[in-house]
Structures are given as structure tokens and as C-alpha cells.
């Protein structure tokens, strides 16, 4: 898995240092620190409400921090180079946009005016075509984007995010609502993007198992706090017990990892934070 060694000497693409954030008076992120290297695949794992979406919005600059520093390598060089695929995008079937129009908006959607120049138009078409090809979306490039399946829409949105040639690609729960086969395709695609284009991929998920073969780093979030490192460093009983504030067991079954809440006599965190779904003793099924 970690044949791709973490290259600590490289300048990180993204660096969060002691970042905290509050939403409506509630601390959603608490002293989060981690760094992401170029070409690295990072999985942001946690249950619903653990702070994954807020963390991605903080990195994008859409959510202000209460304290701490977020550094983006691209921003330091005066170039905004973050691609983003938001959570649960349900594209309207009436939206008069073909897959290729959505991808083109990834290139110039922030610009003013209507694209008219024919020469620029040709260059634009070629780039869009290449971006569509890179996510295997040529077959449905001319279909209305709202009529595509969830997996196809996800690939189009990834092309939308990649066409600006970002150094960092952020995806919020891209596997949610996808069938297993589409999940596998999207994960393979993202791994290829990280590997071939040296794009750092940071994606959130509540289940780490589909990502185990491809991810280099895990950022495990619980109750707004985070630990990060390789899977072997982080997904261990003592590390996660400390994070959750009560005992959890990490079980490895048939190559899958299950994180399971401890016995009844274990102390629950004083602030009453639920360690994920405690029914049947399973804390998420990451």
C-alpha cells in the first residue's frame, strides 16, 4: 500500500496547523493538524457530524477558522489551485447542460461574459475533450448531465474539478449513494489521478474500507478532533480510544477493518459526545 513513501522533504500542498472552527457557537473542529504532500491520497474518515464537511470548507476558505493556520502551496505562489467536488450534488434533470458543458465550466466558470471567440473555442473544446477522456466520460459527454447515473455525474464533476489542473483535489463523500461497482470505479479513477498527475487527493468518507488499497494517509475525525498518519499508525485500538475518549477495538476481518465500541462498563466521554452509532456495538463501520 505505502509503496509510495511519504516524501516529508517535499513542500506540502496543504498544511493545517492547530485549526479550530465553530459553527453556531459549537466547536466543530478542535485543534486539527495535518499536512498533505503532492500526489498523496488522503482519506478523511469519520461518522456523520464528525466535522468532515466543515474541514473541507475550511480548506476551501468557505468556512472561517476560529484559530490556527491553513496553508495552501498554490496560494503562496499566487495561484489558486484547488479542485472541489461538493457533497451530494443532485443535478437537476432539467438543467440545460451537457456533461461537456459542466466540465467546461470547471475551466472558466468564474469568468465574466459569454465564450465567443472561435479560436479560444477550439482550444477549449480540446481541453474539455481531454478532461472527459481522463475520467472515461466520452460516451455520455453529450447527454444532459442531470439524466446521468450517480457514478457518471461524479466522474463528470471530477473532470470539472480537474480541468483547472489543480495541485489539490477535495471531494466530499464522493462514494455516498453509489453502488459498489461505481464506488470501485471512482476510487480507481482518483488513485490514477493522484499517481499520474501528482495531484494530492483528499476525500471524505464514512467507510475507509473501499479506500484501503489506494490511500497513503488517513485523517481520522471524531468529535471535531483528528489524528493523522498511515493506516497502521492511526487505525489502532489505543490511538482511536484516545481520540474517541473511550475504549474502542479495531478488528481486521478478511482484509476489512472494523472499529467497534468497547464494553458497557467503558466510560463515555464527559461531554456526552456519541462515538458514532453505538447500536450493536459498532462505531461506524470504517
Amino acid at each position: 500500500m505505502s509503496a509510495h513513501v511519504l516524501e516529508e522533504q517535499e513542500t506540502p500542498v496543504l498544511w493545517l496547523h492547530n485549526v479550530s472552527a465553530d459553527l453556531a457557537g459549537r466547536r466543530v473542529l478542535d485543534d486539527v493538524t495535518f499536512a498533505v504532500q503532492p500526489g498523496e491520497f488522503t482519506a478523511l474518515i469519520g461518522t456523520n457530524g464528525a466535522g468532515k464537511t466543515t474541514l473541507l470548507r475550511v480548506i476551501l476558505g468557505l468556512q472561517p477558522t476560529s484559530s490556527g493556520i491553513v496553508e495552501l502551496a498554490g496560494e503562496r505562489r499566487g495561484r489558486r489551485s484547488v479542485g472541489y467536488v461538493p457533497q451530494k450534488v443532485l443535478l437537476d434533470p432539467d438543467m440545460p447542460l451537457r456533461a461537456r458543458d459542466v466540465v467546461a465550466l470547471g475551466m472558466d466558470g468564474h469568468r465574466l461574459g459569454i465564450p465567443l471567440s472561435p479560436r479560444a473555442g477550439r482550444l477549449r473544446r480540446d481541453r474539455v475533450e481531454a478532461a472527459l477522456a481522463s475520467v472515461d466520460a466520452i460516451d455520455f459527454a453529450d447527454a444532459r448531465v442531470g439524466t446521468l447515473s450517480g457514478g457518471e455525474q461524479q466522474r463528470v464533476l471530477i473532470a470539472h474539478a480537474l480541468i483547472g489542473e489543480p495541485e489539490l483535489l477535495l471531494l466530499d463523500e464522493p462514494l455516498a449513494n453509489l453502488d459498489l461497482r461505481s464506488q470501485h470505479e471512482v476510487v480507481a479513477l482518483l488513485a490514477r489521478v493522484a499517481e499520474e498527475r501528482r495531484v494530492a487527493v483528499v476525500m471524505s468518507a464514512h467507510d475507509m474500507n473501499p479506500l484501503l488499497p489506494v490511500m497513503h494517509r488517513i485523517v481520522y475525525l471524531a468529535g471535531g478532533r483528528a489524528v493523522s498518519g498511515t493506516t497502521d499508525e492511526v487505525v489502532r485500538s489505543e490511538v482511536l480510544s484516545a481520540l474517541y475518549g473511550h475504549h474502542v477495538d479495531v478488528l481486521r476481518v478478511h482484509g476489512r477493518i472494523l472499529v467497534v465500541a468497547g464494553g458497557e462498563d467503558e466510560p463515555v466521554r464527559p461531554d456526552g459526545e456519541e462515538p458514532g452509532s453505538v447500536e450493536s456495538g459498532i462505531v461506524s463501520v470504517p
Partner: protein
């Protein structure tokens, strides 16, 4: 020929200016309205039209053209909706509804005062159901200028509008200010609705605004094509409406003609039904 085009249709100056003004307004309404549909702001558009009746009736009381009243009040109401309406769609609808109710109450008062004190009985009809055949030539430059402003806003913000309609988070992540897009768009909407109110009336203005785009969106899958088809449908419905309204001067019951707005709205609705049927056939394959 005479069966279709009643005598004098092509030589009548009033018909000429109605055809020109009607087409200009239909194009603006269709292009602005395409994004009204995509942004799911039809209710806001409708509210701006009806609130416009307040301004229109006040303008008639004050002795000026109702268009200035429509525009003035619609811009104020758009600002109020934007400021009251925060970001949740539900409170946005609520703010819109409240502004609408207050505005219509005033409109009732002004129309009543106008009818009793100045015996301008035609004012209610003009304000509520439009006056395409009595738009004075003096107003044409103003109508064209306002049209240019509304079209310029939509064309300059074209990609921002598409991106925010697709997904607001995607647009925000690209550094597009959602607040700015929303404010500029509401201004364009206020202008389009006012122009539409001037021609087919405050009550019916939404039909011209969202009808042709709703039909066009069933027929095309490209954004620029949707704008062109919507504009085409709007102009066609307007011209057919003018044609029948002119014919209707020979119709029962009174021989004084049927309202042009009625015909335009009927044609818009027919085009929408046809597009809906066609679209359904397409999706069935």
C-alpha cells in the same frame, strides 16, 4: 390572406410599435426568465410583477407612465427580498410573500383612489393586464435602454449564473460571490418583470417570464440553445397574440377587441404543453 391578417395589420402604426416593443420585451423576459427557472425563483418573479402593480398604479395617479412605477417598486421590492430573505429557501419564500401582500394592498388603494378621484377607470386594466397597443412611441427608447441593462447583466454574469444554478458550493469554491450574483440577478429580474408588466400586465408578467424558458428547457440540452429557443418562443407567442388581438376587433361580443395579453398567455401555455409532450416522447425514446 385577409382571413389570417385582418386588413390594415401591416400598415397600422400601433400594430408596428406593438410588434417591436412586444418582441424586445419577449426576448428580455425569456433570457432573464431562463435563469429564473433554473434558480427556482419563479415565485420571486411573480411577486415582483404583482408588487409592480403598486408602482404602476401610483405612477398613473401621479400622471406618469406606469413603467416608471413598475421599475421603481420592483427594484425596491427586489432589494427587500434580498435583504430580508437570508439564504434558506423557505424564509426567502416567506419574505417574498410578505413583500407581495403589502404591495398588493397598496395597489388596491391606489387603483381605488384613481378610479374615484380621477375617473381613470382604464388604469386598473392597464396596470393589471397591460397595454401593448397603447405603449407610446416616446417610451420605446426607455424600454430599449432598460432591456439592454437587463440583458447585459445576464450576459456578463452568464457563466456565474450557470455555475451557481448547477451548484452554489461549486461557484463559491471558485471564488464567485453568491451574494453579488444574487443581487445583480434580482436587478435584472426586476427590470424584466417590469417591462413584461408594461406590455402584458402586472398579473400576467410571470407567464412571459417563465413560460417560454420552461418550454425551451424541455427541448434543448445546451445553455445557449435554451436561451435562443426561449426567446424564439416568447417572440412567436407575442406576435401571434398581437395578430389574433388585431383580428378580434371584428369578433363578438362588442367588436372592441379582446385583450392582447390573453392571447399571448394562451400561446405561451400552448407552446409549453407542446414542448412537454415532445419532451416526454424524447425521454421515452
Amino acid at each position: 390572406m385577409n382571413a389570417l391578417f385582418a386588413p390594415g395589420f401591416f400598415t397600422n402604426g400601433i400594430v408596428h410599435s406593438a410588434l417591436i416593443v412586444g418582441a424586445v420585451v419577449a426576448v428580455v423576459a425569456a433570457i432573464v426568465g431562463t435563469f429564473t427557472v433554473l434558480r427556482a425563483q419563479s415565485f420571486a418573479g411573480h411577486a415582483l410583477g404583482e408588487v409592480g402593480a403598486t408602482g404602476g398604479s401610483a405612477a398613473i395617479l401621479a400622471g406618469t407612465n406606469p413603467l416608471w412605477g413598475f421599475i421603481g417598486i420592483a427594484v425596491v421590492a427586489a432589494a427587500a427580498i434580498e435583504l430580508l430573505g437570508v439564504r434558506q429557501p423557505r424564509s426567502r419564500d416567506l419574505a417574498t410573500g410578505l413583500v407581495l401582500g403589502a404591495g398588493l394592498g397598496l395597489a388596491a388603494l391606489f387603483l381605488y383612489l384613481g378610479a374615484t378621484s380621477q375617473s381613470t377607470t382604464g388604469a386598473s386594466i392597464t396596470v393589471l393586464f397591460g397595454s401593448l397597443f397603447v405603449v407610446s412611441m416616446q417610451m420605446v427608447p426607455s424600454i430599449v435602454a432598460l432591456s439592454i441593462v437587463a440583458l447585459a447583466i445576464v450576459l456578463v454574469c452568464y457563466r456565474w449564473l450557470l455555475l451557481t444554478s448547477l451548484n452554489p458550493d461549486l461557484a463559491a469554491a471558485r471564488g464567485v460571490s453568491l451574494r453579488l450574483v444574487s443581487a445583480l440577478y434580482l436587478l435584472a429580474l426586476a427590470i424584466a418583470v417590469s417591462l413584461s408588466a408594461e406590455t402584458i400586465g402586472a398579473v400576467l408578467s410571470t407567464a412571459l417570464l417563465v413560460g417560454p424558458p420552461a418550454a425551451a428547457l424541455r427541448l434543448t440540452k445546451r445553455p445557449t440553445a435554451a436561451l435562443v429557443v426561449a426567446a424564439g418562443i416568447g417572440v412567436l407567442a407575442t406576435w401571434l397574440g398581437i395578430l389574433l388581438a388585431y383580428d378580434s376587433y371584428t369578433w363578438p361580443p362588442s367588436g372592441r377587441g379582446w385583450p392582447v395579453s390573453f392571447f399571448i398567455v394562451v400561446f405561451v401555455f400552448c407552446f409549453y404543453l407542446l414542448a412537454q409532450l415532445h419532451g416526454r416522447k424524447l425521454t421515452r425514446g
